[in-house]
């Protein structure tokens, strides 16, 4: 038996992912560009259901996050992991399952989202069958990753590997917990959580999607590709290790800050805030480590575009990780939240950190995969400058717009009235900035096209090496047992004990939990808050399908400026039947939580047919099909049943009995409402009827409320 082994690195899978990354990069950003233009030129919605902003926005976010960045992560991991472990991937079968599975899921998303099949939970819009597929593929990836690590030939696990592990494990857990939903039909489901709880879980996920999908894996990639590209070891390896563990030990908690000033309880908000602020330290540890690695190599940075990209990426990371916590500070958040500031923030991260690092990686990777030189360094440099310009043109206007709108919302005139009582004024003010943003976006897209060309040419230039044969000496295992014996035992005892003790106590804690989970929960609820009627449920589902939540929040924050504008601020108790919650995270249009009864039914009819007819200058798309498409009453029983399963107290058998009757009766009422608004030609079973019913119901229950009392409802989880 020899102690030297010959084996092959799998470059094919790397190439596959790399190509996917490049292509999805174009798709995702192009989709983004399209919807960006729709915001100042609504006709670009093309008056078809499938191309409206509401449906394309999730497509854009999913394409960028899961298709572009996702494939980028896989590319980087499949390349670096093999080399760091001196081993081929654990299983080629799993590798390819991972590739086709993941990209299949993305195609599925690209089909279902325009069709309006969505759960409406941000970054988790995909419906339950796809959610299951994601879980399966991700687990396959995790097995492949861990398997490779286990059979590695290099004893030391380079810090990047730790970041990869963190990504795999955490994302799996987050995805599963957030996607717990109750199917109502093959493509329709309701979150098992209601209102506040749904929000809490969603943003616990939402934040960590950012943390563990867009950050940790990319830090891993940075720690591999930055030293490789610059030819010098990372500034302080020790710091990188500390940085990792610090991040891991606290990052996971920082979720709730996305819900500051919402109905989420104070302590949870402050918690999110505190931890986000604490996170600056480890994040900056990573950034400084990255930048300092290049100290003394700036001459190289000038020559090599991939280093330029890397520098900007790392800087962008630093900026957004400083900005994030800043935005988590309540006072700042009260201004920034729901505005374009948030958009600017995420795009600093996405365009700068993820985008630039991915480009850098691709430019570095393709020449090596094809054993040649980059086709044109000059073009790569063009790409860099164009992309950088694009980023600036994108981010800066968004900051301006965010602050402008935030201030306009809050501004009162001397008489104590809102200076901009009409929400529309604050939107029209932003349109020029939206145009600028589109310019930036298109520059960024152009950059990607240039890259695609450059990379294509590079491939043509060289010869692809599918399997790279290398040799490594393997460690003889016998050794460990030998040298570890002795003091290991001594130190082993207390440590093992304490670990066991901890486990014991935690289990104790959980035992403490279980009974509590079974007791009735006392959320201060409002007697007058009742479940939605069948018609409203159908209307709400239309609201979800059309992605209204992308532009309209349903959460009036406890500020005078908001209560003046919208009405009484939102209470936790009002959402107990909201599966899923529809608080939203951006107000391109006004908040709708108190829209119920604000306008006559007919107004909604006209507004949906052509928003500009009721609100001149509005940038909302037309929804003519709502006037023609019929309510899918066959789906009603399934939905009522599903909702009951997740805790909405519909009487048993209601869906087979009175549900349909109630629906028809309420529809008739709405039709009368239309006709009083001199709309006589309304289609009697049109979806607009359901939607109107829902909108008119929104936030009205509390007005009927005689007094706030405590009625007990059972906690979602007890079901």
């Amino acid at each position: 038996m020899t102690n030297v082994e010959t084996f092959k690195y799998d470059n094919r899978i790397v190439r596959a992912f790399a190509i996917a990354t490049a292509i999805w990069g174009l798709v995702g950003t192009a989709a983004g560009l399209l919807i960006a233009c729709q915001l100042f030129y609504p006709d670009l919605n093309l008056n078809t259901p499938f191309t409206t902003f509401g449906r394309l926005r999730p497509l854009h976010t999913n394409a960028v996050i899961f298709a572009f960045v996702g494939n980028g992560v896989f590319t980087g991991i499949y390349y670096s992991l093999q080399r760091l472990c001196k081993a081929r991937m654990f299983s080629d079968a799993l590798s390819w399952f991972n590739f086709w599975g993941w990209n299949g899921i993305i195609v599925a998303a690209a089909v279902t989202l325009p069709l309006g099949l969505t759960t409406s939970k941000e970054y988790a819009e995909l419906e339950w069958p796809i959610d299951i597929a994601i879980a399966v593929v991700w687990v396959a990836f995790t097995i492949n990753l861990l398997g490779t690590i286990i059979k590695r030939r290099e004893k030391h696990m380079y810090v990047a590997i730790w970041f990869y592990i963190a990504t795999a494990i955490t994302v799996a857990m987050l995805h599963i917990f957030n996607s717990l939903e109750m199917p109502a039909s093959i493509f329709k489901s309701y979150s098992i959580y209601a209102g506040v709880q749904d929000a809490l879980v969603q943003w616990w996920y939402g934040h960590n999607a950012v943390a563990f999908f867009l950050t940790t894996p990319y830090l891993g990639l940075m720690y591999y590709f930055l030293p490789k590209a610059s030819g010098r070891p990372v500034f302080s390896y020790r710091l990188s290790i500390i940085h990792f563990w610090a991040l891991i030990f606290i990052y996971i908690w920082a979720g709730p800050h996305h819900l500051l000033y919402t109905a989420l309880p104070d302590w949870a908000q402050s918690l999110g805030m505190a931890f986000s602020v604490m996170l600056v330290a480890p994040s900056w540890g990573g950034m400084l480590n990255g930048l300092l690695t290049l100290r003394g190599a700036w001459d190289k940075v000038r020559q090599e575009p991939m280093l330029k990209f890397m520098v900007v990426a790392v800087t962008a990371y630093g900026m957004s990780t400083l900005e994030g916590p800043t935005m988590a500070i309540k006072s700042v958040n009260s201004l920034s939240h729901y505005t374009d500031w948030t958009i600017a923030h995420v795009h600093t991260g996405a365009l700068g950190w993820n985008g630039f690092l991915t480009f850098s990686m691709l430019y570095w990777l393709f020449p090596r995969l094809y054993n040649t030189k980059l086709f044109s360094v000059k073009l790569a440099n063009y790409h860099f400058w164009i992309a950088l310009l694009g980023m600036m043109f994108y981010v800066v206007p968004m900051y301006v717009s965010g602050v402008t709108q935030g201030l306009m919302w809050k501004q009162f005139n001397p008489d104590g009235f809102l200076s901009y009582g009409n929400f529309l004024e604050t939107v029209i003010r932003l349109v020029p900035l939206y145009k600028l943003r589109a310019v930036g976006g298109s520059l960024y897209v152009v950059g990607i096209v240039i890259m695609l060309f450059n990379l294509y040419k590079t491939c043509k230039l060289g010869k692809f090496i599918g399997d790279e044969t290398v040799q490594a000496a393997v460690e003889k295992k016998a050794e460990h047992a030998e040298k570890e014996r002795g003091h290991r035992w001594l130190e082993g005892v207390p440590l093992t004990f304490t670990v066991l003790a901890t486990v014991a106590v935690i289990i104790g804690g959980l035992i403490e939990i279980v009974p509590m989970m079974l007791v009735k929960e006392n959320v201060p609820t409002i007697s007058s808050v009742k479940p939605y009627t069948p018609l409203e449920v159908m209307g709400r589902d239309v609201y979800i399908r059309e992605g209204c939540v992308g532009c309209h929040s349903q959460m009036v924050r406890p500020f005078r400026s908001e209560t003046e504008r919208y009405g009484e601020y939102s209470k936790v108790g009002e959402y107990v039947y909201d599966h899923p919650f529809l608080w939203g995270s951006k107000r391109t249009g006004p908040d709708l939580h108190r829209v119920g009864g604000k306008y006559p039914d007919a107004w909604h009819y006209n507004h949906m047919e052509n928003p500009r007819s009721t609100s001149p200058g509005s940038i909302m798309p037309n929804y003519p099909w709502l006037l023609t498409q019929s309510i899918d009453t066959n789906a009603l029983p399934g939905r009522i049943a599903a909702l009951r399963k997740v805790g909405v107290p519909y009487p048993v058998g209601y869906e087979h009995g009175d549900a349909q009757k109630d629906l028809v009766e309420q529809a008739a009422k709405v039709l009368i409402g239309f006709s009083t608004g001199s709309i006589t030609n309304a289609k009697p079973d049109a979806e607009i009827i359901a939607l109107t019913a829902y909108l008119q119901r929104l936030g009205t229950d509390i007005k009927k409320a005689p007094a706030v009392t405590n009625i007990t409802t059972t906690a979602a989880l007890t079901k």
């Binding site: 030819g231 030189k373 014991a504 804690g509 939990i513």
Partner: protein, 824 residues
């Protein structure tokens, strides 16, 4: 692939780039007269050429693309035979870390590891020879651990392979001691990580509680979070704080008071109080403060454990002596490990080899350099029948000696059997902190009891208890415990950057206490390399000088070599014909048609050259005769290190000074002037005398610092309160000491001692600072209303300010004493 390599390398040179002065394709050094040209590349020597060929035939030329000047110049060619003794079971078994009969692993120290390329080459060792397995480099330690299959390759082959590549491992007598025990590093970072983990997570729950968790109606989170916090805190208290329990226990057993005791008490108090609150559902406890406290304390310890990987502060002669020596066995020579030598063995010592044990010369002329062993500055000539001492270095030709004493009981080595080396100085207990702790603890206990009594008297026993515990809680001297580690630790690091390496932080405190400084002469105050060379006689003309210079380049004897260096100037060496050196006597050669003789007066006389009387008496001189006619003589006088005089002057104000030299009286006058009347100068000191001298000083109540370099100072260095070992370059051998200092730093010694004094003052200030915090806390605590949140704020706040101050102030001091920044 080479493309890839090119791209990843920061500073790349393509192997065949021709600079003005052709540089070696392997080691990058300029190619001199010895240069060879092969494979249309230049090599500075055949050694380098060979390595290049080995690499090429194994297809490892990527090596050269990894970094500039990647290669290591091959000083002297090595033969496998000289390593054969490594295969002897006795030696082998000592050297290998582990062996299961089939595969073995051995760890070597390889000083020539210097760049990424080295790492790469050594970790690709398996490409060279079958049987070589996985090899792992530890760059900072300059170590390589190699697995190999006993069946396919022997230890000697392995070492030969390394040597042939220019990575000859250091093998000395000390290597046989076996691997040194691992530091407590692992355990500490385990405890640290655990504490950090729990701290971070518990804070999550605490923050909720501080922010009115119960705004959530009657949903009862409080107890739950309490339990979880407890669960997270438990391992921290048991495992992370383990060392504090241990030391506290020792304190109690030995009736002594160290900082650990009050800390332990504090931890107990916090933990007990918190548990009580959780179980009685009266509160959420102080678990966050508790874990934070331990976390910070451990960071302090971590900071304290500054170790310099390449240095060793506890070397003895074994690390200086060779591992093997050539023994005459009948008519054949064998290389044997020193451990296998017996009295009576006949040993062969080549030029530059070390005498392993006291012996009597059998044949050959000995020119023994004792400078490192006895402190004698000049090599002494020994003839057959005379005794030579272990540790001396033969600088003449081949010498055959017979051992008269075993290695360990020789004149020099017997020093290590002195009891000074037996007892381990226990300096951890007597330090600033512990001295302060005494008063501190007493005060605290008084306050605690007082508070308790007060409330008891006012008939509020529960408040009394609360007051008592909370006093103990806030009084837990966390910040206090951090003050010294961070102040002194920073000082230690600052000095380290200046190539002044301290064994541990406590050394600084001792440095500050020193009131007497004792110097060794040779190699410490005087620089071995830099001797003043003077020529006596009619000045040499250009041609003569060049001829002499060319000739000296061929000699290995220290005197001609130094003369050569002195007269080198711009001379280009000429070809030297029929060079002949008579070891220890002189050398002759034809240069530019001149017959040149160079050597001792007696030798010239023996060739009937008339040496003028005024020159005959000159000590330490080399006489020249050209074409049979006396021409004059060179004299060498050891010269002081640069600025050594300034140092003595600076120190003599506030310190008692003394000189201890193994050398003869020759230079007494000179050093008399230097040290002034007060100092006492001692010459002809044996290693034991030196040790005794220091001991006497200490008896008379002095705190002594010994500054020395040689093995002969080892005893004195060990005995002194702080021993300062001087080395020409870091990593070179230095005897056991508290401080290792690079030779060119010797003049800055006064500066360094002043700095230490100030750093200790800083510690006092930070101690005051932290106790101020403690007493603020005491105020609140004694009144019996210490809210967890107050504790949670006070504790980190105090720690951070103290740490901040300690580090900041020390850095400021560093700048004040011009210790800032890196030394180029």
């Amino acid at each position: 692939m080479s493309e890839a390599a090119l791209n990843i390398s920061a500073l790349t040179v393509s192997p065949d780039n021709k600079s003005a002065a052709a540089s070696c394709a392997h080691c990058g050094l300029p190619c001199l007269t010895t240069a060879v040209r092969a494979h249309d590349k230049d090599f500075c020597c055949t050694g380098c050429q060979t390595v290049f060929e080995i690499l090429t035939e194994n297809g490892l030329t990527q090596f050269y693309e990894l970094s500039d000047k990647a290669g290591v110049q091959i000083k002297r060619p090595t033969r496998r035979e000289q390593f054969l003794f490594l295969d002897e079971p006795a030696v082998r078994e000592k050297l290998v870390d582990f062996s299961d009969g089939k595969t073995s692993r051995v760890t070597f120290t390889v000083p020539s590891i210097h760049c990424i390329a080295c790492v790469w080459l050594l970790e690709n060792l398996f490409q060279f020879k079958p049987g070589v397995g996985r090899s792992t480099v530890n760059f900072p330690k300059k170590e390589v651990a190699i697995q190999f299959e006993d069946a396919k390759i022997s230890l000697s082959e392995l070492v030969a392979l390394l040597a042939s590549l220019g990575y000859e491992p250091t093998l000395n007598f000390g290597s046989l001691e076996g691997a040194k025990p691992k530091p407590a590093f692992r355990k500490l970072i385990l405890q640290l990580g655990l504490a950090g983990f729990s701290f971070g997570n518990i804070m999550l729950f605490s923050i909720c509680l501080y922010n009115g968790l119960d705004s959530l109606g009657t949903l009862n989170f409080k107890p739950l979070f309490g339990y979880i916090s407890l669960g997270l805190a438990l391992p921290v208290v048991v495992y992370s704080a383990l060392d504090y329990w241990r030391s506290a226990w020792t304190c109690l057993r030995q009736r002594i008071l160290t900082i650990e005791l009050p800390i332990a008490v504090g931890i107990v108090a916090i933990f007990a109080q918190s548990c009580y609150e959780v179980f009685s559902r009266t509160g959420e406890g102080y678990f966050d403060s508790l874990c934070g406290l331990i976390f910070f304390l451990l960071i302090g310890r971590w900071f304290q454990q500054k170790s310099y990987e390449r240095l060793s502060f506890d070397r003895d002669y074994k690390a200086f002596f060779p591992l093997s020596v050539v023994r005459k066995n009948g008519n054949r020579d064998e290389t044997v490990p020193i451990s296998a030598l017996n009295v009576g063995d006949h040993l062969l010592l080549r030029h530059g080899e070390l005498i392993p044990a006291d012996a009597r010369i059998v044949s050959g002329e000995g020119v023994i350099d004792y400078s490192f062993v006895t402190g004698e500055s000049e090599p002494v000539e020994k003839r057959a029948g005379e005794l030579v001492y272990a540790g001396g270095q033969q600088t003449g030709g081949v010498l055959e000696v017979q051992m008269t004493k075993p290695v360990s009981q020789s004149y020099l080595t017997s020093l290590w059997s002195h009891e000074t080396f037996a007892k381990e100085r226990n300096d951890t207990l007597d330090n600033i902190l512990n001295r302060f702790t005494k008063r501190f603890t007493i005060t605290v206990s008084v306050v605690a009891l007082g508070a308790a009594a007060f409330w008891w008297a006012h008939g509020q026993p529960n408040v009394a208890l609360k007051a008592f515990t909370s006093v103990l809680i806030v009084a837990c001297p966390c910040a206090l415990a951090l003050s010294a580690p961070f102040a002194l630790g920073t000082a230690q690091r600052l000095l380290g950057r200046q190539k002044v390496f301290l064994k541990n932080q406590h050394t600084i405190e001792t440095l500050a206490k020193v009131n007497t400084v004792v110097f060794d002469k040779t190699g410490t105050l005087t620089a071995p390399g830099a001797a003043k060379v003077e020529f006596h006689g009619a000045a040499l003309n250009e041609a003569e000088e060049r001829a002499l210079f060319s000739m000296t380049r061929h000699s290995t004897h220290p005197l001609p070599v130094r003369i050569g260096e002195a007269i080198a100037k711009q001379h280009f060496p000429e070809t030297v014909y029929s060079f002949l050196e008579t070891p220890g006597k002189g050398m002759e050669a034809r240069v530019a048609n001149q017959e040149i003789w160079m050597g001792s007066a007696s030798w010239l006389a023996s060739r009937n050259v008339m040496v003028p009387t005024e020159h005959q008496s000159r000590s330490n001189s080399v006489h020249i005769a050209i074409n049979g006619a006396y021409r004059g003589c060179f004299t060498l006088q050891t010269s002081l290190r640069q600025d050594a005089d300034k140092l003595i002057a600076a120190l003599s104000n506030d310190y008692d000074l003394a000189l201890l030299s193994g050398d003869n009286e020759r230079e007494r006058a000179r050093f008399g002037d230097l040290f002034g009347a007060r100092a006492n100068l001692n010459f002809n000191q044996s290693p034991l005398n030196k040790l005794g001298f220091i001991h006497n000083l200490q008896q008379s109540g002095k705190t002594v610092m010994m500054v020395g370099d040689g093995l002969n100072d080892a005893g004195a260095l060990k005995q002194s309160d702080s021993g300062v070992a001087v080395v020409e370059n870091i990593g070179a051998f230095s005897p056991a000491s508290d401080v290792i200092i690079e030779a060119n730093n010797v003049p800055r010694l006064s500066q360094i001692m002043a700095f230490s004094k100030d750093s200790v003052r800083i510690v006092w200030v930070s101690i005051m600072l932290s106790s101020a915090y403690n007493f603020i806390g005491l105020g609140i605590a004694a009144s019996g209303k210490l809210a967890p949140v107050v504790c949670a704020v006070l504790m980190p706040l105090s720690s951070i300010t103290v740490v901040g101050f300690a580090c900041g102030a020390t850095h400021w001091l560093g700048r004040k004493h011009k210790l800032g920044g890196k030394q180029s």
